[in-house]
Symmetry: C2
Subunit: 246 residues, 2 copies
DNA sequence: TGCCTTAATATGTATATACATAATAATTGC
DNA sequence: GCAATTATTATGTATATACATATTAAGGCA
């Protein structure tokens, strides 16, 4: 979550929010360099004329956000940032397309229900074989293909998917409606379009493409593996780093 | 920050941490779907046999982490996840190369100090012209070029860079030592290698490459713009989504 | 001067209490 | 039955107090 104070009517002006904001501003502006000792809690209670618990609340939040580190008896110190962690927002493809001011269209290319094989087990990180659904889809921006989707759904985790044709709804939003709080790992790389991809995206064989592979876990088991392929010129991912994130 | 309880000796077993962990587990497992009302604070005080402030502390953290939303008089409700926000960790290239079990080597290709032009103003989002430093570098993994770096440093923000040759130290780690808490925006896409890139990375003209462009801000002004280009087969970015992040 | 013991201190966690406030529910009057 | 008013209630924020505990500083002694 963001620690930076915003014009949020809910917390604007509350004392602990002011303390939190003042201190994070000093850190992020460089006024307090890594290693600098933040004033002791009792010093801050005098400075802000408040209780120790109010100061403690603000400092605890800064610690959780990763800006400071707290050491008993020693005090609180500005941290050196860990590896920069940029937040990459993953949107439903429809949202991405419509943000470009284009009309979105979805097309199911193929759908097969079968038993998982060795490659599937590897993609989904499954321990044992079971029923899976494979889907191949295209997402259009205006008249142009925008993304090629190749997906594997673990039917043990989402049995309902067996009864869904995915003719009119893309699997991504359908799944997020059923497994809303899931974990995911994304792998992002560049590839040269193979013949299948070239045909699906209407680009030249060997053209550069951006590939985002995502594996998703629901309640302790894998739900889906999906590979999105975008033509190089049609997609840029944006990730932002704000140092207040954990 | 992560809300999920870990085997952290610092907080393991503390009551508010247990409450936080229990509730986030129910949400992430799907036991409590979006829209579900979390028990009222007074109900949780009875359930955990503790004070309202302890419960409030845990619920406030869950709210800040984005898992629940709090409404006065109404209660707390499980939220539908916003767009999934995957955390993309950006490491120093040396760390990436060494994680591959390869030897890292850095080479400065070119360095120029000059006044910013129109393209620079655009890249750095500067309002007015000033002195800049341009750098072209290569990063090697073993004997192979791993990344091609083209950088622009705003000397108004980091005047010290004017006195640094960057012969033995890459600009990235040098800058993070001086502007530790900065904000950044990354743009990730696929491109076909142009002649400069092909030569720098020792790949074929037109080969697919992964490009990560990063613009960094220090204290309210831009610090640097950098474009890293990686050969397609040498680099995969990994981003992880854990729903406890804001 | 160095080591051991004791005292002091800053943070960690929790509870009790208080008041504020937004929102919901109940009551009253027409 | 509906609107206005009042009461109730759940969260928001803060303070006071207490005890726990890890770490640092001070003192004594050999």
């Amino acid at each position: 979550m963001s620690v930076a104070a915003t014009a949020d009517p809910e917390v604007a002006g509350s004392l602990h929010a002011r303390i939190l904001s003042d201190i994070s501003e000093k850190i992020m502006s460089g006024a307090w360099a890594p290693g600098h000792r933040v004033p002791f809690e009792h010093e801050l209670t005098e400075q802000y004329n408040c209780s120790r618990m109010t100061v403690n609340k603000a400092l605890s939040q800064l610690a959780k956000a990763g800006l400071i580190e707290r050491r008993r008896r020693s005090g609180s110190f500005v941290r050196r940032p860990r590896s920069q962690a940029a937040v990459l927002e993953i949107h439903d493809i429809r949202v991405e397309v419509e943000a470009l001011g284009l009309a979105y269209r979805y097309e199911r290319v193929a759908r097969h229900r079968r038993r998982s094989n060795g490659a599937d087990l590897s993609l989904l990180e499954l321990g044992q074989a079971g029923p899976v659904l494979t889907l191949e889809c295209r997402h259009f921006a205006g008249e142009r293909p925008f993304a090629h989707e190749q997906r594997l759904i673990n039917l043990a985790a989402v049995p309902e998917a067996a009864g869904e044709e995915f003719l009119d709804i893309a699997p991504g939003p359908w799944l997020i409606g059923r497994v809303p709080w899931s974990e995911a790992e994304h792998r992002i790389r560049a590839v040269a379009a193979d013949s299948r991809t070239a045909q699906a995206l209407d680009i030249e064989l060997g053209a550069p493409c951006l590939v985002v592979e995502r594996r998703t876990w629901g309640a302790e088991r894998p739900v889906t593996h999906v590979r999105f392929t975008y033509a190089a010129e049609s997609h840029t991912l944006v990730a932002r780093f704000r140092p207040s994130q954990g």
